[in-house]
C-alpha cells in the first residue's frame, strides 16, 4: 500500500476526484469505441506511424486545440475564484497549481503546438516540396511533444501538479519549498517536449534551406516561410539553454545538487537568468510565425502584394537578434543595479521599432486594397489595435525605473495577454481558418466564424483591460484572493465576464467545426480564397505527394502570377514520385520516453533503467535499418490527379 501512496494527489478535492472519474470514463469510451468500430488498424497505419507532414500537422492541431481547452478551463477557474473579494471556490494551494498549469499548458503545449501544426502543414507546400527534410524525425518530434504533454497533464490526477508558476523560480521550486513531486513533472515533461521542439527546429531549417522549388530564392520566399525559418533558428539556439536549465533543476530536485539552492554556493538567480535567456526568445518564437500568417492573410484579402517585403524580412531578422539581448527586463527588480538595468531597458524599447515597421507595412498593404472581411481577415484587423496596446504597455514595463511599480502586478498580466492573445491566438485561429480548406477539403462557416471572432475579440478586451487598472491600483499577480476594502472587486468581475466571452467564442469554434463538417459543400476548387502562394496551386485536399509535378517559380507570388499573367508553374511531365515509408519506431520510442519520464518523476529507478534500454534499442535498430522509401508510379499519380481535378497535366 505504501508504494501507491506516493501517487496520491496531496490536496484532493471533489473537482480532482470528478476529473479522475471523467478521465477514466473518457479513456474507456475512446478505447471501446476504437475497438467497436475496428479502427485500431486504421489508427496505427494512417496516424500513429505516419511520417506525412500534413498528417503530423493535423495531429499537432488537434493536440493544440485539446490543450487550449485544458488551459482555458484553468483560466476560467482562476477568473471565477477572483471574481469576488474573499471568494472561497478554490484554496490557495489549488490556485497555485492552476495558474502554474495554465501557463505551462498554454505556452508549451498549446501555442507551441499550434505554430508547429501550421508550420508543418504549410511550409513544405509553400516552398513546393514533397515533405520536410527528415520525415521520420518529424514524427519523432510530434510524439515527443505529445508524450511530454500527456505526462504533464497526468500530474493533475497522479501525484499532484506543480505549483511554483510557469516560470518555476528557484528557490521556490526547490525541494525545500516545493517538497512535493509536482515540480518534477514540470522539469521532466518540458524536457521531453523541448527535445521534440529542438528536433523540429533543425528539421525545418534544413527543409527551408535545401528543399525550395527551383527559382525560389531566399528573397522570393513567402513571408510565412521566412518567419518559420527565423523562428526555427531561434528554437535551435534558445532551446538548448532551457534544456540545461531544466537538467540542472532536475538534478537539484532528484540528486540534491546545489545549482539553485540557497546554501553550499547555489545561486537561485542563475535559474531566472537561464529561464529568460530562453524565455524572451520564446515569446518571439511564438509571435514571429503569427506575423507571417498575418502577412499572408492581409495581402490575400486586400487583393494586393505585401507592402514593404524587404523591410518585413529585415525587421524579423532584427527582432530575432534583439530577442536574445533583453532577457533582464523580466527581473529589473532583482538587484542588477542601475547600469545593467539601463542597458536592458534600452534594448527592450528598441524592439518596438522593428515591430512598428511591421504594423505600418500591414496598414499600407490594406491601404487602397479591395478588402474582403472574411474570418481570417477579421482576426488580422482585430489584431492590430489590440496588439499595439499590448506592445505599448510593454514599452512602459521596459522602463526599468517605472517597472518597480508595475512588476508582478496585474498590469504585467494584462500586458502579456494583450500581446500573446492577439499576437498568437488570433493568428492561429486566422491561420487555421485560412488553411482549413487545404487540410480538410471544406471551408468553415463564415457566419459562425464571425460570431466566434466577436466573442473572442470583445472577450479579450473585457478580460484584460480592467487588469491594467487593478494592477496600477496595486493588485499583485498570482494572489488567490483579496479583501473587500482593496477595491479590486469590480475589475476582477469584469475580467470574469471577459473570460466567459472567450469561452463562448471557443465553443462557437468547436460548433463551427462540427457544423461545417456536416453541412459545408465539398465543391470548393483548389483556391477558394483567391490566394497568391504555392500551397494553393495543389489539389484540395492535398494528395499525399503534394505536387504531381515540382513547380518552378520566378516571383514572390508565383500562384497569383500564374493566374493573372499566364505563367506556367508546372513544366515537367508527371513521373514516378519517391516517398518515405511509414514507421512505428518514433511512436514506440516515445512510449519509452513517457515511461522514462514517469519513472524519473517518482524516482522509480527500475522503470528509468528499463525504458532507457528501450530507447537505446530503438536507436540501435534505427541505425541498422535500411529503408529507401517507396515510389508512387506515374500512372497512379495521373489517375489521382484526373479524379481530383479533371485535367491531366
Amino acid at each position: 500500500m505504501e508504494f501507491f501512496e506516493q501517487f496520491a494527489v496531496p490536496n484532493p478535492t471533489p473537482t480532482i476526484y470528478l476529473s479522475m472519474v471523467a478521465i477514466g470514463l473518457t479513456l474507456i469510451a475512446v478505447l471501446a469505441g476504437i475497438s467497436y468500430f475496428k479502427k485500431w488498424g486504421y489508427l496505427w497505419r494512417e496516424w500513429l506511424t505516419t511520417v506525412d507532414h500534413k498528417r503530423i500537422g493535423i495531429m499537432y492541431l488537434i493536440s493544440a486545440l485539446l490543450m487550449l481547452f485544458r488551459g482555458g478551463v484553468d483560466a476560467l477557474m482562476m477568473r471565477a475564484q477572483t471574481s469576488r473579494a474573499g471568494n472561497e471556490l478554490l484554496s490557495s494551494a489549488e490556485y497555485n497549481e492552476i495558474f502554474t498549469t495554465h501557463g505551462v499548458v498554454m505556452i508549451f503545449f498549446m501555442a507551441m503546438a499550434f505554430i508547429t501544426a501550421l508550420m508543418n502543414f504549410v511550409v513544405p507546400l509553400q516552398i513546393g516540396a514533397r515533405d520536410v527534410a527528415y520525415p521520420r524525425l518529424n514524427a519523432l518530434s510530434f510524439w515527443l511533444y505529445f508524450m511530454g504533454a500527456m505526462l504533464f497533464n497526468l500530474s493533475f490526477v497522479i501525484g499532484g501538479s506543480p505549483s511554483s508558476g510557469w516560470t518555476s523560480y528557484f528557490p521556490l521550486a526547490g525541494n525545500e519549498l516545493s517538497p512535493h513531486i509536482g515540480t518534477n513533472y514540470y522539469m521532466i515533461a518540458l524536457q521531453i517536449a523541448g527535445l521534440g521542439t529542438l528536433i523540429t527546429g533543425i528539421n525545418f531549417i534544413v527543409t527551408i534551406f535545401k528543399m525550395r522549388a527551383p527559382g525560389m530564392k531566399l528573397m522570393k520566399m513567402p513571408l510565412f516561410t521566412w518567419t518559420a525559418l527565423i523562428t526555427n533558428l531561434l528554437i535551435t539556439f534558445a532551446f538548448p539553454v532551457l534544456t540545461v536549465a531544466l537538467a540542472m533543476g532536475t538534478m537539484d530536485r532528484l540528486f540534491g545538487t546545489h545549482f539553485f539552492t540557497m546554501d553550499n554556493g547555489g545561486m537561485a538567480m542563475l535559474w531566472a537568468n537561464f529561464f529568460w535567456v530562453w524565455g524572451h526568445p520564446e515569446v518571439y518564437i511564438l509571435v514571429l510565425p503569427a506575423f507571417g500568417i498575418y502577412s499572408e492573410v492581409i495581402s490575400t484579402f486586400s487583393g494586393r502584394n505585401l507592402y514593404g517585403y524587404t523591410s518585413m524580412v529585415v525587421s524579423i531578422v532584427v527582432i530575432s537578434t534583439l530577442a536574445f539581448l533583453v532577457w533582464v527586463h523580466h527581473f529589473f527588480t532583482m538587484g542588477q543595479g542601475a547600469f545593467v538595468n539601463s542597458i536592458f531597458s534600452i534594448t527592450t524599447m528598441a524592439i518596438a521599432i522593428p515591430t512598428g515597421v511591421k504594423i505600418f507595412n500591414w496598414l499600407f498593404t490594406m491601404w487602397r486594397g479591395k478588402i474582403r472581411l472574411t474570418v481570417p481577415m477579421l482576426y488580422s484587423v482585430g489584431f492590430i489595435p489590440i496588439f499595439t496596446i499590448g506592445g505599448v504597455t510593454g514599452v512602459m514595463l521596459g522602463i526599468a525605473s517605472a517597472d518597480y511599480q508595475y512588476h508582478n502586478t496585474m498590469f504585467l498580466v494584462a500586458h502579456f495577454h494583450l500581446v500573446i492573445i492577439p499576437g498568437v491566438v488570433f493568428a492561429m485561429l486566422a491561420g487555421m481558418t485560412y488553411w482549413w480548406p487545404k487540410m480538410f477539403g471544406f471551408m468553415l462557416n463564415e457566419k459562425i466564424g464571425k460570431w466566434a471572432f466577436w466573442n473572442i475579440a470583445i472577450g479579450t478586451c473585457l478580460a484584460f483591460f480592467p487588469m491594467f487598472i487593478a494592477g496600477l491600483d496595486g493588485q499583485a499577480r498570482r494572489m488567490y484572493t483579496y479583501s473587500e476594502e482593496a477595491g479590486f472587486g469590480i475589475w476582477n468581475l469584469l475580467s470574469f465576464f471577459g473570460g466567459l466571452g472567450l469561452a463562448m467564442g471557443f465553443i462557437l469554434i468547436v460548433f463551427n467545426v462540427y457544423y461545417s463538417a456536416r453541412y459545408a459543400t465539398r465543391d470548393i476548387g483548389d483556391d477558394p480564397w483567391d490566394a497568391r502562394t504555392l500551397e494553393w496551386a495543389t489539389r484540395t485536399p492535398v494528395p499525399e505527394y503534394n505536387f504531381a509535378v515540382q513547380p518552378v517559380v520566378d516571383s514572390r507570388e508565383p500562384y497569383w502570377d500564374a493566374k493573372h499573367e499566364g505563367k506556367t508553374l508546372f513544366k515537367d511531365k508527371i513521373s514516378d514520385i519517391h516517398m518515405p515509408n511509414n514507421s512505428g519506431m518514433p511512436f514506440i520510442m516515445c512510449v519509452f520516453f513517457f515511461i522514462f519520464g514517469f519513472g524519473l518523476v517518482f524516482s522509480l529507478w527500475s522503470l528509468v533503467i528499463v525504458s532507457s534500454v528501450g530507447i537505446a534499442v530503438c536507436l540501435f535498430l534505427r541505425s541498422f535499418e535500411q529503408d529507401d522509401g517507396r515510389h508512387i508510379h506515374a500512372e497512379d499519380v495521373q489517375e489521382t490527379e484526373r479524379k481530383m481535378g479533371g485535367d491531366d497535366r
Binding site: 527528415y134 528539421n203 535551435t236 536549465a245 539552492t261 545561486m267
Partner: protein, 198 residues
C-alpha cells in the same frame, strides 16, 4: 536514388547532402548547449561552499593523458575519412577502430579522475562549483561515450555493407561529431583546467 559520381560518396545523394547540412545545424544547437554549461561553470566556479576548489583538485598528469588521447583520436578519424575517400575499406575500419579505442581510453581516464575527486571530498552534492564542474565534464564525457556506441554501430555496417552512400555518409557525420567533441575539449582544457590551475 540519384547518385552523383562527381562528388565524394558521402555527399553523393540529395539525402546525404541534407543529412550533412542538418548535422551542422545540430552542431549549432550543441554549441548553444555547451555555451550554457560553460556559462554556468564560470558563474559558479568560485562558489565552493566550503568544499575543495578548482586549484586543489586539478592535476596535470591525467589532464595531459586525456588531452593527448582525445586529440590523437580526432586525428585518426580524420585519417579514416581520408582513407574512405581513397576507397580503402580496411584502412578506414582500422583507423575508425583506433579512434574508438582512444575514445574509450579517454572515458576511462575521466572516470578515474572523477573517482579521485570523490576521494578528495568533491561529490556532485558538495557545492555549486562541484555540480557545475561534474555537469560540464560529464556532458562532454557522455557525448564521447555515446559516440563509442554509435561508432561501433557504424563500423559493423561498414564491415557488412562496405562503402555505400549511406555508410559513407554516416562515417563522415561521425567524424564531424568527433571533431566537435575535440573542440569542446580544447575549451575545457583551457578555460576549466588551465584557468583553474593558475
Amino acid at each position: 536514388m540519384n547518385i552523383d559520381h562527381s562528388k565524394p560518396l558521402e555527399y553523393s545523394t540529395e539525402t546525404n547532402d541534407m543529412n550533412i547540412v542538418g548535422f551542422w545545424v545540430f552542431i549549432g544547437a550543441e554549441i548553444a548547449l555547451f555555451a550554457t554549461l560553460f556559462g554556468a561553470y564560470f558563474i559558479l566556479e568560485g562558489r565552493t561552499g566550503g568544499g575543495p576548489s578548482a586549484g586543489h583538485l586539478f592535476v596535470i598528469s591525467t589532464l595531459m593523458i586525456q588531452t593527448f588521447v582525445l586529440l590523437t583520436s580526432s586525428f585518426t578519424i580524420g585519417l579514416a575519412v581520408n582513407a574512405m575517400r581513397l576507397g580503402r575499406k580496411g584502412a578506414t575500419i582500422g583507423l575508425f577502430l583506433i579512434t574508438l579505442i582512444l575514445g574509450l581510453g579517454f572515458v576511462g581516464v575521466e572516470i578515474y579522475e572523477f573517482y579521485e575527486y570523490v576521494h578528495e571530498g568533491l561529490n556532485l552534492q558538495t557545492s555549486a562549483f562541484s555540480a557545475a564542474l561534474f555537469t560540464l565534464l560529464g556532458t562532454h564525457g557522455a557525448h564521447v561515450s555515446f559516440g563509442l556506441f554509435w561508432g561501433v554501430a557504424i563500423i559493423i555496417q561498414l564491415v557488412k555493407r562496405g562503402f555505400t552512400p549511406a555508410t559513407a555518409n554516416k562515417t563522415f557525420i561521425f567524424s564531424l561529431y568527433w571533431h566537435f567533441l575535440d573542440v569542446v575539449w580544447i575549451f575545457i582544457f583551457s578555460f576549466v583546467y588551465l584557468k583553474g590551475m593558475m
